[in-house]
């Protein structure tokens, strides 16, 4: 299988018939969990990830007393692959969660100041991601499902300082729709949305977070391969161009 995919890539082809710069078919199901404040299931080809938003009243951080708190967590469910065993998140799941966290936070996609409740009390927004089927390009799928879940999330109602579940006071104060496009370097070519088998053959990937106004909000290089500055320039151009296709889906 691996050799077959490699031969195809060397000829500029992919075994699912896509060209190098096309996404697989993307399907999004909203509100997949009724108990969550917001949720979304994203299918990117065969990859499936689910994101859910829960909110709680919390104490603000000392250095930002007027701002709500964002906590992102990701887990590879043992459902998702024969190679995953139950247990705490490994380095890959932690890196994934931290990239998603930075994209949401650094793009200022949530207006955290509007999540102030009263002196010493702010909303904590939890975004929990679970990978259900590990078929490649997890970062892009996870960012997309997180943003979709955040954009349809509602803020629970508060009465006498307590949360009333299943009643809501409004929508989460969302501002931007950042997405990531992960660009893989294969020989001297670039491709996007790799499958799991393609990922095994690729040793250099650049995850680029792009905001609605084309500003770059996060970059993370993955794999032990290397990039030249001119290659990074090309990746940024591609990411900005391709980000528009994903943003339309949020």
């Amino acid at each position: 299988m691996k050799n077959f995919v490699e031969e195809a890539l060397a000829q500029g082809k992919r075994i699912d018939g896509r060209d190098f710069l096309s996404f697989r078919k993307i399907e999004i199901v909203e509100n997949v969990s009724k108990k969550a404040e917001g949720s979304a299931l994203v299918k990117m080809g065969e990859t499936k990830v689910i994101a859910g938003v829960k909110m709680d009243i919390g104490e603000p951080f000392k250095d930002s007393p007027n701002e709500g708190i964002l906590i992102v967590n990701a887990e590879f469910s043992p459902i998702s692959s024969p190679n995953i065993e139950p247990g705490p998140p490994d380095e890959n799941a932690i890196e994934l969660a931290r990239i998603v966290d930075r994209v949401i936070r650094e793009s200022h996609s949530i207006d955290l100041e509007k999540l102030f409740i009263e002196e010493g009390k702010v909303w904590t927004v939890y975004v929990d991601l679970t990978v259900l089927d590990m078929k490649g390009n997890l970062v892009d799928a996870c960012v997309l499902s997180s943003l979709k879940a955040l954009w349809n999330a509602k803020i629970p109602k508060i009465e006498d300082g307590k949360i009333v579940r299943e009643e809501f006071s409004g929508k989460l104060p969302m501002v931007y729709k950042p997405v990531t496009v992960s660009i893989c370097k294969y020989n001297n070519n670039f491709l996007i949305d790799p499958t799991d088998v393609e990922e095994e053959l690729i040793n250099a990937k650049l995850v680029v977070g792009v905001r609605d106004d084309d500003k770059i909000c996060a970059i993370q290089k993955q794999g032990w391969g290397t990039f030249h500055i001119s290659e990074i320039e090309r990746c940024l151009d591609l990411a900005i161009e391709k980000s528009k296709e994903l943003r339309r889906l949020i």
Binding site: D63, S64, E67, E91, N92, I94, E95, A97, R98, R102, R105, E106, S107, H108, N203, L206, R211, D214, K215, I216, C217, A218, I219, Q220, K221, Q222, G223, W224, G225, T226, F227, H228, I229, I232, E233, L236, D237, I240
Partner: protein, 242 residues
Amino acid sequence: MGKKTNIQLMVDGRRIDGRLPEQLREIEMKIGEIENADGSARVRFGNTEALVAVYGPRSLFPKFLQESDMAILRVVYSMAPFSVDERKNPAPDRRSIEISKVTKDALSGAVFLEEFPRTVIDVYEYIIQADGSTRVTAINAASLALASAGIPMKDLVAACSVGKIGDVLIVDLCGKEDNYSESDMAVAMMPSKGLITLLQMDGRLTKEEVLQLLKKAEENCKKIYEMQKKALLEKFKVVGED
């Protein structure tokens, strides 16, 4: 990063610690302080200091972790509990785990791992004091430690941080700049061929600004690279001269 603050990071063209925008902090590099290690180095950028030891190539157990055609490189980044303002729990946190992973990627591409099948090269990074840019300081030390362990490499890996305050680009961020500047970027590269092995950025930058910062990073990685070579030559100049 990008937290709101009243702290003035830039006054009259000088940074919070008195430096000019493109000025590196005082840099010290010393090789071979850990007697037990196969290679070691200590690197200090101002008040950020990293001590790194390399053990290996050595046998790897359990056996199923071995790669039949190459060595594996493992990196553990950790911070001393007293290295920061408020005591840090010594257990690995999520940040340290992510840094360990990206550092492994940053170094693996520079080492001829195929020379040592079925073995492991362990790189242990320990931050003694932290005032911003700890991951890049540790990478500079790790690269020296690997070289001093006699492990064949394509090139040294040199690293530095760059960022932006207002419209001004800055290099080698200190702790306050790390926390409050609008954008920051960590870059590691093999300078002789200009190959980037680590790149992490967050903030809000246009494509042009990202590229400008990358160029600044490249310039400064080259300066650091020269210092690394000097440190190695100071340590090993006696070899072959007797």
